[in-house]
């Protein structure tokens, strides 16, 4: 196991499932009612004018434009990649999104399509979305997507192992996948809709960060509920404590169900008032979405022209 010494600093000396279980029990519990109230209160923030314009452009740069369907084809992925590079062909001032997020088989096409641009290729891996496979296969898949040109790997945790109390296995799988990533960035999907309680979410967040996650991510998008503001706040609070305890920054990616510019701004407000400026960049915050981008573009156009335009004026790729 290769872990940076600072990440290890929060872990027990002798790592077994028993010591890891005790360690996770020391993670502060989460009160669901109070978390929900906090995000409801932050959702009343009124973001107008230049601060809204700033937020919308920031949201574009933080987006992982995603297609994860059985019906994905090279054609679809190439078209989506063009959109990722230049989201609004009529307005070159709109920045590119952060990344395109695709299935392993689509990585070579995405790689080719974004080559030479700032857009990164993110691939899901580890037998996404269920993760129900042997760890050797998951590691092998990870190696393959990195070799095929993925800059970022979005893995899923072993929820079965987590819910059965086999935390060591969850931890160990993340460590091994991280090793297989090499220089590629690792996003660890907790699939919070399956973990169900905020206590589980917070423990899984700590487990993933200690095991080497560069980002923690809410959901695959295949399970409902996917990303929510309360679950995102819980994960951001876990990141804040991890940062305070180790000095290591970990990124955050809510994914699934974020469809409107208004939603995106609410996520940014929660981020801003929990982790602050240090995290307000695509290096530390991503939004996984497919239909969000056009709504954000529409809002930007509205701010600039004072008019809402027909969806027909925004490209669907």
């Amino acid at each position: 196991m290769t872990l940076t010494s600072t990440r290890q600093a929060i872990l027990p000396d002798r790592l077994t499932n028993s010591t890891l279980t005790s360690f996770l029990r020391s993670v502060p519990p989460v009160d669901e009612v109070a978390v929900t109230e906090r995000v409801a209160s932050l959702s009343t923030r009124s973001i107008k004018k230049e601060s809204k314009a700033h937020a919308l452009r920031m949201a574009v740069t933080m987006m992982d434009l995603t297609t994860l369907e059985g019906m994905d084809t090279p054609g679809k992925v190439i078209q989506m990649s063009s959109k990722a590079i230049r989201p609004d062909p009529t307005d070159p001032s709109i920045p590119s999104v952060a990344a395109v997020c695709v299935y392993p088989a689509m990585v070579p096409y995405a790689r080719q399509a974004v080559e030479g641009t700032s857009v990164k290729v993110a691939s899901v891996a580890t037998y996404f979305p269920s993760g129900q496979a042997d760890i050797a296969l998951k590691v092998e898949e990870t190696r393959q997507v990195v070799e095929a040109g993925a800059d970022e790997v979005d893995m899923v945790i072993n929820r079965g192992a987590f819910l059965s109390g086999d935390y060591y296995r969850v931890f160990d799988e993340i460590v091994r996948v991280k090793e297989a990533c090499g220089d590629a960035h690792l996003k660890v999907i907790l699939e919070t809709g399956e973990l169900e309680t905020f206590d589980n979410v917070r423990r899984a967040s700590v487990l993933a960060m200690a095991a080497g996650a560069d980002f923690i991510k809410t959901s695959t998008g295949k399970v409902s509920p996917a990303a929510t503001l309360p679950v995102t706040l819980v994960m951001l609070e876990a990141i804040r404590d991890f940062w305070a305890a180790t000095g290591i920054k970990v990124g955050m990616k809510p994914a699934g169900g974020i469809r409107t510019a208004k939603d995106a701004i609410r996520y940014l407000v929660v981020l801003n008032e929990t982790l602050g400026q240090e995290w307000m960049s695509p290096d530390w915050f991503r939004i996984g979405a497919s239909s969000l981008l056009n709504d954000v573009l529409m809002q930007i156009r509205w701010l600039e022209t004072g008019r809402y335009q027909s969806p027909d004026y925004f490209t669907k790729d």
């Binding site: 000396d13 502060p28 008032e273």
Partner: protein
């Protein structure tokens, strides 16, 4: 399985340093428009369904505490004016309000509740202009609660016999009500709604720094067709209040305000047949155990003391943190304080608004200076305050002892005194070591401990894993020098009825 609790396993609870979020993405000002409110230059008394010039001939200014600008001048009711108001209330009671079927009274109260909802934006802006509280709070807390209280008590008006099974409750007569400046319209609702529902008539004396929403409410009662004299407003300061509470033809006195004034009223009423309820000061204990949901407890503490600038009688102004998490918790709290947005109360993003009056600001300053002199350690986050108006930076004191003034006296401002405790028994002992007993809070993830604490803390309300939660159906009131009587819920009806009817 025994946890191996070496220090480094305490991810969330030991090793943290202060990590203060640096916020650079500034929110552009988002100011609620004041166009919706027309503030008149001058307001008269509201007596017998009409606005009347005061016989005293006197007026006093009411100002916007965020700008120090005069909003309007308001009539000062002298003894003759109070006489006239009580007389009108008595006549309205005798003429029919007291005998009107409950179902008929309910129609008026429901109508008032709906009109409050319809005009809630206007009333929220007016409340913020006159009192300095953030528009976010007057819009999302005060006004919805005001309407909810009228709806709730309107529902009781025709069901009073079911509220007190076996007895036929009857109204008392004329209620003289004196309310404070921290929740002007909400305190009006707490008092006026149950009084009207039970068939009493009302003379209300709002606080001298925040009279405008009560006068706007008077207009609503007139538009709702409430019979003249059922609801009257006499504006003025302490002397007006004393004339009302001491008036021989008032049957019931309800007061919310300081313990000092409450005691004066109690001695004024001694030997009379008047019924009295008092809702007075507080110095609530907010207790944080080491197994609490820490990040949510931080929010609870912030809400407990900085809600409405700390101008809350049930504010969680004494924080007791279990000693083994004290430093960690305080560090987190300090970091959170830095993200509070203090300033223009009309800005929708303001968290902490203006101090209600110069007098109150001076009182807060005096107590904070006393805290520093007595040796407590003060912390205030960097914070730019507007140049005009009355402001006070959210403040923490650590290293506070029970014997410090800031642990004993009600500051009624955004100032938190932090102490530590070691065991649950010590937490209870310290929490109860105060002349007050209005409210308390406890944070722990252990359900049995919540019940154990709630049994032992001498407070009218104990909030568990939350703070400052209100509901019209829930009774509210104090122990000891925090007063007596309960407002809200079925208990709130008791203050306004007598059981002379025998079995029904």
């Amino acid at each position: 399985m025994e946890p191996e609790t070496t220090e480094k396993t305490q991810v969330g609870t030991r090793k943290a340093e202060v990590v203060t979020p640096r916020i650079e993405w500034e929110y552009a000002p988002s100011r609620e428009s004041t166009d919706i409110v027309e503030v008149a230059d001058r307001y008269e008394l509201f007596i017998d369904g009409e606005y009347r010039k005061p016989k005293s001939g006197k007026y006093f200014p009411t100002i916007n505490p965020a700008t120090e600008e005069e909003l309007a001048e308001v009539a000062e009711a002298g003894p003759e004016d109070v006489d006239a108001a009580v007389e009108a209330a008595r006549a309205a009671f005798e003429d029919g309000w007291g005998r009107m079927p409950g179902s008929e009274r309910a129609k008026y109260i429901f109508r008032i509740a709906r009109m409050i909802q319809e005009r809630s934006r206007e009333l929220a802006v007016l409340e913020t202009l006159d009192g300095g509280k953030p528009i976010k709070e007057s819009r999302d807390v005060d006004l919805p609660q005001v309407a909810a209280n009228f709806f709730y008590y309107a529902g009781w008006a025709d069901k009073l016999e079911y509220a007190f099974p076996g007895f036929r409750p009857e109204p008392l007569g004329v209620a003289g009500q004196v309310i404070p400046w921290n929740f002007p319209l909400l305190m009006l609702a707490w008092k006026v709604a149950p009084a009207l529902a039970t068939g009493n008539t009302v003379v209300l004396k709002p606080a001298e720094t925040t009279p405008l929403t009560a006068l706007a409410f008077a207009e609503i009662t007139a538009e709702a067709g409430l019979p003249p004299g059922v609801f009257n407003v006499v504006t003025g300061a302490g002397e007006t209040g004393a004339a009302l509470t001491g008036h021989p033809d008032v049957d019931k006195v309800a007061f919310t305000g300081s313990t000092e004034v409450g005691k004066l009223i109690q001695s004024q009423l001694a030997g009379t047949e008047k019924r009295l309820t008092l809702e007075l000061g507080g110095k609530a204990a907010h207790v944080i155990f080491d197994d609490a949901p820490i990040d949510q407890a931080i929010e609870g503490v912030v809400n407990g003391i900085f809600f409405n600038q700390g101008h809350v009688c049930c504010a969680g102004s004494r924080l007791f943190v279990q000693e083994n998490i004290h430093d960690f918790f305080v560090d987190k709290l300090k970091a959170r304080l830095a993200t509070l947005r203090v300033g223009d109360p009309l800005d929708k993003n303001t968290d902490v608004g203006a101090i209600n009056s110069r007098q109150q600001l001076e009182k807060i300053r005096e107590l904070v200076e006393a805290g520093v002199e007595e040796g407590a350690e003060i912390y205030q986050p960097p914070c730019e305050l507007p140049s005009q108006g009355y402001w006070f930076v959210p403040t923490l004191f650590t290293g506070v002892s029970q014997s410090h003034r800031i642990a004993q006296e009600e500051i009624f401002g955004p100032v938190l005194s932090i102490m530590s405790f070691r065991t649950p028994a010590e937490a209870v002992e310290k929490a109860n070591n105060t002349p007050y007993g209005l409210s308390a809070g406890v944070w722990t993830s252990k359900g049995s401990r919540i019940l154990w604490m709630a049994d032992r803390m001498k407070a009218g309300v104990v909030w568990a894993n939350t703070y400052n939660k209100f509901d019209p159906a829930s009774p509210f009131g104090g122990y000891k020098e925090s007063g007596f009587g309960r407002e809200g819920g079925r208990h709130g009806l008791l203050n306004y009825v007598k059981h002379t009817g025998g079995r029904s």
